[in-house]
Symmetry: C2
Subunit: 216 residues, 2 copies
């Protein structure tokens, strides 16, 4: 009983902050994508590659979420992009309020696109809107092909699915067609890209999509 | 304010149920291990292998936790072991009360060891005791070597770390010595085994440890 009411209160407060973020993005003509995945699926590597590849075309900033450390922010900053770390100190998702505070420390007037790299967690971030224009779920081939079936809510609420680490396909048991079928059953509008952030295979389609997304 | 109080209430209720589970394990002379990891690190494959290898030595039952599906329980049942699925319907961890209910459906009088395979989540399960005698964290080499630093609480509270998928070591960026150093800094008593549930490399040490754990 009290759990349900509390969950509602937390989500309501989160939605209010998410609206503040939306307004900020609108004011600065910025598009925002919320990137969600299990730990170690390759989010930071994908973002670093993407920032490098789209230099001179769009200006990208990153909000990084982790329980602890600023390791990911350090990696992003090596690309030259603006990045700001949120340490959640134990929470398994980013809240819209935390993102709002982080956005004050990004050079918004200079950016076209903000990626929010959520805490590595395929469950909790799915419940918290952050004011984003779209959601990206990353699934690594090393995680197995049963994940859309086992974590349906996260895939149902996503706009884009990046199937990462396709370079490992010969070494892991992963049926890409099963993932596509299960994910599209949950969400028929899901856009799916098969990529390797390590080898760059498949990334061009993702870049082209992003350029259209920012322009649109 | 209300969030903290509520978290305390939920955890108190959980602890009460965890004590009920402990008593049940004591009554039936069963040891229990709570297995925690990111999605797709190989928990179910490790458990299936372990059950097969220790047949005739110890009798193992499994409580499976997932947001949706009984895919993992189906896999465990193929080994002939008793297994029962908990579907959390969105929650990112198992509660002790859910486990208590599940235990009523296992043949406890016939078992020496119960594995609780928690929901694939490297964050939330860490806060919820289930009445277990020990915790196993599984980390796949495909997830990267920064995970103890980024998810310290889960590693600090574990008794055993299984570094899985060592068969992928040539194909992924993973420094085993960094993981060992970071994890042992958080928890100097952590027992660490490097294994591949796929090729069976390193599993004998884990089996020997388990036999001692159940006998002890």
């Amino acid at each position: 009983m009290y759990t349900v009411n509390l969950k509602k209160k937390i989500l309501d407060a989160n939605e209010e902050a998410a609206f503040k973020n939306s307004r900020l993005f609108h004011q600065y003509k910025i598009k925002c994508l919320n990137v969600i995945s299990s730990p170690g699926s390759g989010k930071t590597t994908i973002l670093s590659r993407t920032i490098e590849a789209l230099k001179g075309k769009i200006k990208i900033g990153v909000v990084e979420g982790d329980l602890k450390t600023d390791l990911d922010t350090q990696k992003i900053k090596k690309t030259g992009a603006a990045a700001i770390q949120i340490e959640t100190n134990g929470a398994g998702h980013l809240s819209a309020e935390q993102v709002y505070e982080a956005l004050q420390n990004l050079p918004l007037a200079k950016l076209n696109l903000v990626f929010i790299e959520n805490v590595g967690n395929l469950v909790c971030p799915s419940d918290f809107v952050l004011g984003e224009h779209g959601r990206v779920v990353v699934l690594s081939t090393a995680e197995g092909d049963d994940k859309p079936a086992k974590y349906p809510s996260t895939f149902a609420k996503a706009d884009i699915l990046l199937i990462n680490k396709i370079d490992l396909l010969g070494n892991v048991d992963f049926d890409t067609s099963r993932v596509r079928a299960d994910a599209l059953k949950l969400n028929k509008n899901l856009k799916i890209f098969e990529i390797s952030a390590k080898t760059a295979a498949g990334l061009q389609n993702w870049y082209d999509y992003l350029l259209g997304f920012v322009a649109g």
